[in-house]
Amino acid sequence: MALDGPKQDFKYIGTRPERPDGWDKVTGKARFGADFSMPGMLHGAILRSPHAHAKIIKIDATKALALKGVKAVVTRADFPEGLEGEDWNIQENVMAGEKALYDGHAVAAVAATSQLIARDALKLIEVEYEVLPHVTDVDKAMAEDAPVIREGAADYSVPEGMHPNVVRYMESGRGDLEKGFAEADLVIEESFTTEAAHQGYIEPHACVANLGADGKGDLWCCTQGHWFVRQMCTAVLGLEATQLRVTPSEIGGGFGGKTTVFIDPVALALSRKAGRPVKLVMSRSEVLRATGPTASASMDIKMGMTKEGKITAASGTFRMQGGAFPGAPVDVTTMLAFANYDIEHVHHVGYDVMTNRPKQAAYRAPGAPMGAFATESVLDELCRGLGLDPIETRLKNAVKEGTPATFGPKFPPVGLIETLEEARAHPNYSVKLGPNQGRGVASGYWMNWGGETSASVAIGDDGSVQVSIGTVDIGGSRASMALMAAEAFGIPYENVRVSIADTGSLGINEPTHGSRATFASGLAIIEASREATRKLCQRAADKWGIDADAVTWEDGCAKPSGPNAGEFDPLTIAEIAAEMGSTGGPISGHHESTPDGFGGSFGTHVVDVEVDPETGRTTILRYLVVQDAGKAIHPAYVEGQFQGGAVQGIGWTLNEEYIYGEDGRLQNPIFLDYRVPVASDLPMIDTVIVEVPNPGHPYGVRGVGETGITPPLPAIANAVRDAIGVRMKKLPLTPPRVLAAIKARD
């Protein structure tokens, strides 16, 4: 697509108006997933495996079906056979077939006239299991004697002789490692692990399904992407895509975890069988046990550096488990592990490993934070070993436009150097630290995403503008879309209304994921608005009796352009709209594409911590996020994304982890013991927005959602290293682990 260079002078872009959905959300008027209901609706509940790995011998639902109020029970037998690839994976995950593959795996479901009856009915379903040996740790799952999760799951890439649990293998790099390490004055080699973390969205998954025996249905659900839901549900149930209409609710967070389905196909299957609408709402325990946390990782990193601070070579081996299915994001981990730096000799090896854990799902920059934790920790040790400043050293190695990336191609314009310079200049970087305090620095990258996009604008009869997009509003994107439409039309922000369309009202849209909504839906809105303004100009030209080429659109008005166009008073959008029914009909604009001009975003974080030397407890004293937004459409929501990424990173680094017992069961499936940070754990997160325009977007936008969770893991670990003098190589940095490290030091 041909685009002019990014626009630079703006009237509305860069301002901070109130978000259009704000009042509804703070007053409780907004409807989230569990707020929807229908006449005649039943309530569903799901029976889940208490075993980490077990053969399902028999399921007997006779007693449950005999309970008054129970209308349907479904098992895997109610789903079609013969699916392949990811469709089969999703079907197997939403309802177990021959084996239960993890603690919490769905084995049957009930629909009844009340939630209490449905829950009572679950207790009456008799499941006979043959318990099998299990494995939940990535390194153990690769060992020779590890129980096999599923034979034949490996793809072409896995070399012969590896354990069947290794399902994908990857290797990439360039140069000559031996030569590179020989050029170094200091070489450091260390191993690291991270534990699985959950996205921790505040809203559990919820849906209402209504599916007829004729295969036509409706689904209302909480999701990041309703076309994805449609594709997955229709594939899993053997339906025709467009016969299922999916309408998204407001969404209480997703962070990648709501780009797939867990309960929606089950609710549809129950509804089809019962002949009534069925509502399913997950509890928090179900969310933690049976949705998709991120992968856990085990990593070996080796890096070399000259005494001047130049990285000479880097290699990494990354082993990641993503549960009982292929899909741990190790491809991205390997690709981005060293992507901040210009390194001639670099090599990556990655293993995607299956274990008896829930099927991992995307989590904010999936795969990137783990790799960054390991590589940025080693870089920090190199700086310490050679007595170098961490920001100066990063500046010396930072990629810029034209640098060949460690994953191959040359970078387009990017802003890593700008973020490092801003971080160095920020007052936080020179605050004097006290005893038991430490400072850490780390940088991170996310390449962002375009994705299939379809959007429309329609002019109202009073000249206001209706915008329809297919990406749900998670982080304030209605406001950003309205700002971009206001800018393109030259009309006030308040005159734009943004709606999220259902799957019956627009072409396919990928979810709000990959930090793509503001970039891709925004681009589509700008192009659709430009189409509409061309039509508005045409109506004015017709009225004035001049050529449309002689009309220009400016500040919400059609104006004659140039001296030869003639003398006419400008026509406002409202004036043209008032007459549109009699001048050719409604005026709208539409745009659809899979835009490829997404630009990656770099960020640099600086964090100060204090570690209690007697308890090992880490307090975050100060936190600075500097990140490239390309162009901040609504700066408050860009800052919100920066802060949110940092906070989730703080949780993952300090306390969040999936803890499995010897029995393979999740030990902490509640927020009491799965410890996300609470507000009082956090300082105000300081932010600096860097703007290096993305040439691939008309206003220069880069996605900002995901990069922010990439630097926190190493930045905090580096700060703790600075405070206690010990390198922590296993996340999270819980007080018992930190205290043990302090005691071992002394």
Binding site: T615, L672, D681, A740, K743
Partner: protein, 288 residues
């Protein structure tokens, strides 16, 4: 499930005594309702004691002690103008439980009856020498708070018995108490280790002391060796070191997802020292 709102503790006791299935008393409900909704316990009889006269009162007794109703919420204790001046450790222990919303419901007696060794409200009560009035089929009796919990989730209360009031002794002169807990976060968590200290001074010298540890044994534990380490000292370094050592020695914790044996033992010593310093400063009037 039968839901009862008895007008007196005698009636509550009678209902409980005649119940045949699972019985729960309901005050703030911050444990009972959570257990009910998570399908952990479905009581056959739920006896709501909030409607009994006097259960929301905090009353100063003639001897200077306090009588606290069984449905008094944490927030009401925190906001009371005088209670926290006498017993800051008891009030701060209760105040650590849950969020602002939970504080509007949760009760100290409920925290005690839940029987958790990690209960934040209980160690300071034990350190203060508090007792409860228990109403049962055979009338009322007073029981030391220390004797109520008998193991994780268990209490010494017999069938048909219900706690009808909490009695805190008079503070007296030159006394101070304090409660500290360790959690990895700053709130909304369960104590990995808790420690309450209550002491009295004469000048700079400690004359009376009680030290109580939470979450390091099957029940909350009053440790005489810790008290002995403090009595007769001016809380100098040697006393603190002896206290730390005695606290560690008293620990019999478990290894679980919330903390290791080694960690809990270490931190018990740390909290004992830190809580003792606060209680000492309060006893001397140097800190509120």
């Amino acid at each position: 499930m039968q839901y009862h709102t008895p007008p007196s503790f005698e009636e509550a006791s009678r209902i409980a005594a005649s119940a045949s299935g699972t019985t729960r008393f309901l005050a703030g409900g911050t444990d009972v309702l959570v257990q009910l909704r998570s399908d952990l316990v479905t009581p056959d009889d739920l006896i709501d004691v909030k409607h009994i006269p006097g259960v929301k009162e905090i009353a100063r007794q003639e001897d200077g002690g306090w009588r606290i109703g069984v449905a008094v919420a944490g927030a009401e204790m925190t906001e009371h103008p005088d209670l926290g001046r006498d017993w800051p450790g008891i009030v701060e222990g209760m105040d650590l439980i849950g969020s602002t919303q939970i504080q509007g419901r949760a009760t100290l007696v409920g925290n005690l009856c839940n029987g958790s060794p990690a209960a934040d409200g209980v160690p300071a009560l034990v350190a203060a020498g508090a007792s409860v009035t228990v109403t049962g089929p055979n009338g009322a009796r007073d029981v030391a708070v220390a004797d109520i919990p008998t193991g994780p989730g268990k209490t010494c209360l017999e069938k048909g018995e219900v706690i009808s009031a909490l009695n805190i002794p008079a503070r007296g002169e030159n006394g101070g108490d304090a409660y500290l807990r360790f959690i990895p976060r700053t709130e909304m968590d369960i104590a990995v280790v808790g420690c309450a200290v209550n002491l009295r001074v004469d000048g700079d010298t400690i004359t009376e002391a009680r030290v109580v540890l939470g979450a390091v044994a099957p029940t909350i534990r009053a440790v005489q060796a810790c008290a002995d380490a403090l009595i007769g000292t001016t809380l100098d370094d040697a006393a603190l070191e002896a206290l730390d050592k005695a606290a560690r020695a008293a620990c019999e914790p478990i290894d679980d997802k919330r903390g290791t044996v080694e960690f809990r033992t270490d931190v018990a010593g740390v909290l004992a020292r830190r809580a003792a310093k606060i209680a000492y400063a309060r006893a001397k009037g140097e800190q509120s």
